[in-house]
Amino acid sequence: MAIAGQAFVVGVLETPVGTVPRVATVLAGRDRWGTLLVRLGFGRMRYTVEPGLYGVGAPNEDSPVLVTANYKLSFDHLRAALVGLDAWVLVLDTNGINVWCAAGKGAFGTAALCAQVAASRLAQLVRHRRLVVPQLGAPGIAAHAVKQQSGFAVVYGPVLARQLPEFLARGMQATPAMRRKTFLLAERAVLIPVELVIAGKWALLLALLLAGASGLFGPATFWENVREHGGWTLAGLGSGLLAGTVLTPLLLPMLPGRAFSLKGGVAGLLAALIFLAPFFSRSEGEGSALAALAWLLIISAVSSFFGMEFTGASTYTSLSGVKKEMRIAVPLQAAAGICGMLLLLWAKRVQ
């Protein structure tokens, strides 16, 4: 069976419901490598484990049943937290999407959970009637409905898998801190690479467009223009991109305002000032002042846009809020960007 052929399966457990694969709780080199690749944005859609029932340690009929999604990163986080424990792990088929996102979309849901409980014949495997579901799966699970349909009571575990041993040791009681979703510096930082990869594609397109425009409208021949201004264009867009996707997440609590587009815009202004420093030091004529203003607008607009995109990765933004923010911010970003580009062209003429 495919389920047993996976690299992290280190043995089998004989149980009343047949053999169950036993998985390692120590992550191997290849698991860490996979995590790294996924964090960098490669193969995120295909990083899965087979759904079904697994065991860690030497579980018996009284061992807890822990539920998770079949995104390998979620699964790895869970088993790595279970060193030295005996437990059953029930993996739901979420198409390789993590617990939180799958719960929001309904794939990690009441129906899927009840179906997997039945398919794995949990009722014959364990004597108790409890399922430990990660708290972040709650947007997809109705605990009272699961109880009705499967006979198993849902106990919501901590937000972080890492806190499971303490949760279990306390007799399945969570401390208030275990219930809170935080968004600390390190948690924000790991999200940056993926944001960068996604944003990079857009920026490349925009850079090509701008380089083309400067080539067409500049004073000399096409390629001379591109060579003359292309570097500036790339550097300008690059600073907007970095301000939005790196600076904004890192400085998030420090940046003013609540809207991500505002935070991104401010980060963009900061980046623009650094980017424009050489401009000010050798400011000459009307043209360069215009160009400086143009870049201020463009970089802030780009950064504001990518800052706004970070709402997708953040852990505290609401749909209503994002909609409201976008209604106001997107026209402003577009206007700032377009004004900036027109100014830039004008500056070229004046020079």
Binding site: C101, A103, G104, K105, Q135, L136, A138, P139, G140, I141, A142, A143, H144, Y156, V159, A174, P176, R179, R180, K181, F183, L252, P253, R258, A259, F260, M308, E309, T311, G312, A313, S314, T315, Y316, T317, S318, L319, S320, G321, V322, K323, K324, E325, M326
Partner: protein, 100 residues
């Protein structure tokens, strides 16, 4: 402790019907944002409406249906995609309209 991050003011659609609440505490358990507090051990009340991220966990897990929220994925990309789909649908419908 660090001041917690709050998103936009006064936009979260969360509603609590306090008469219906039986004080089971389920919403306190599932909410990742500590939006609720138990008042006098009998009913919950919303203590921080602006912290609600509209995940829908409380609504789904309230056994008596005392909570309501317009839930969805709060991210700019999702909103863009929804807008695109809506525009495409509208365009498709217009094409299907019989020309007078």
């Amino acid at each position: 402790m660090m001041k917690r991050l709050l998103y936009l003011k006064g936009v979260a659609t969360l509603r609590l019907e306090q008469e219906t609440c039986i004080g089971c505490g389920m919403c306190l358990t599932v909410c990742p944002q500590e939006v609720f507090v138990m008042a006098h051990g009998k009913k919950v009340r919303i203590s921080e409406q602006d912290a609600c991220m509209e995940c829908g966990a409380c609504m789904l897990n309230c056994p008596v249906g005392a909570l309501w929220v317009q839930s969805g994925v709060g991210c700019a990309q999702a909103v863009f995609n929804t807008m695109l789909v809506t525009i495409q649908l509208k365009a498709g419908n217009e094409q299907k309209q019989p020309k007078p």
